[in-house]
Symmetry: C2
Subunit: 253 residues, 2 copies
């Protein structure tokens, strides 16, 4: 099928929205979200590592830790959707995909396990989603860390990683909330925003790829309520996980 016929078909049937998701397109217009020069061409044998908290972890099997690119390794959330898409579409590249998210983690807890759970895996692409617990646990777990600590710890983690793995490409997924979710109270909108901004600043300061997930979920909420995209306002539903995967692929590949 040539391009003309492809669009003739998709324009007629609506399939274009499946291939080029409307929500992600709206949230990530080319001019603002992605530096095209950063887009990555996957090479044979590369390693992709997903790091983060429960949103990344999402039921992954600890027993499968040694084995990349398995369903147990990837878990059941956005990493599964992202990984399955990448693997199905790049079968000849023998990609190694790891998930090392751990539920409840804050950025300093990533740093504590970074040698084993990042550096030793030698990722070519490192994707990090972290920050919601750095805020949430100040409300629920008597955690006393501030947004300044979050920003400083994240920046140091990035700089240390780049020093040890100079050719690494790093992707920062914006920590986000889904407005209207049951775990959120009125303070979240204002008080969590600085964490989102800090993640973006670290990404820009270090010339990383930044995926604007708050914009993605804000667009998504124009189409369906919070419960469609998220279980509680913090954790994405599988439908929200699929959105994250689409945004990741659009931003990185």
């Amino acid at each position: 099928m040539n391009r003309r016929n492809f669009f003739k078909k998709t324009a007629a049937t609506g399939a274009a929205t499946l291939l080029i998701p409307e929500i992600v397109k709206a949230a990530m217009p080319e001019s603002s979200s992605t530096n095209e020069s950063q887009l990555h061409y996957l090479s044979k044998g590369e390693t992709i590592l997903f790091q983060g908290d429960s949103i990344t972890d999402w039921g992954r099997s600890r027993r499968d830790e040694p084995t990349p690119s398995t369903q147990g390794q990837l878990g059941g959330g956005y990493v599964l959707f992202t990984g399955a898409n990448i693997l199905a579409n790049n079968p000849e590249k023998e990609l190694k995909i790891y998930n090392r998210g751990i539920s409840g983690n804050k950025v300093f807890e990533l740093a504590d396990r970074w040698t084993k759970d990042c550096i030793e895996l030698k990722p070519d692409i490192l994707s990090i989603m972290i920050g919601v617990n750095d805020f949430w646990h100040t409300k629920t777990h008597n955690y006393t860390g501030t947004v300044e600590k979050y920003a400083t710890d994240l920046d140091k983690l990035i700089k240390d990683t780049k020093k040890q793995l100079p050719n690494i490409k790093i992707v920062i997924l914006e920590p986000f909330i889904v407005h209207g979710g049951s775990a959120l109270d009125d303070t979240w909108e204002n008080d969590f925003a600085p964490y989102r901004k800090a993640a973006k600043k670290v990404a820009l300061d270090n010339d990383l790829i930044f995926v604007p997930l708050q914009s993605v979920f804000n667009e998504a909420l124009k189409k369906a309520p919070a419960s469609y995209w998220s279980t509680d306002g913090v954790h994405p539903s599988f439908t929200g996980g699929q959105l994250i995967a689409q945004a990741w692929i659009k931003a990185v590949l």
Copy 2:
């Protein structure tokens, strides 16, 4: 982003292969695989039902049976990947997606539970993948059903369904094997082929949508070995499940 810029970007970076999968494109050239006039435009409130055996079932939660469009309902295989994509890209349509696959089922066992597990759900789109056990169990379970019985039972099931739900759109997923898988012996290639052909004939005779999954997996094997796409030659891996989802979407939507 307009179409020209989209293709400018994707042509430069390889992302086109993620959006329009090469394997599925090669296996399903427009001229032979899909009757474009059959492509479905999803309307608000529609119900999609996936029926089949273990490949469809794949860990779905029986407890979630009453609740459509949940991760537990969809399970962990191709239905999850298909459903997540459809739901993320059609959030305003309030689609109800059900999985009623049951491991080990042959076509007559679908018929035995059809009123409860199909007709009463009133699907607008019914997707059926059935047939591998109709053959396999003749080798492993002393099952004595023939391919003629398979074809007759499937044809009757389709005609009965269309009689009771005249506006239904039915999708037949070709039963397939992944050559080289550990569960297959030398007899499969020749002896299973009639089942594939019977499924296709029923689909064409009844003007259904047919998804040529054997062609998809044959194309896939040009890129990576059987173990990449399938756990045993019969059951797809999650990567194979993602391929099926892409083929389903290309053929139906």
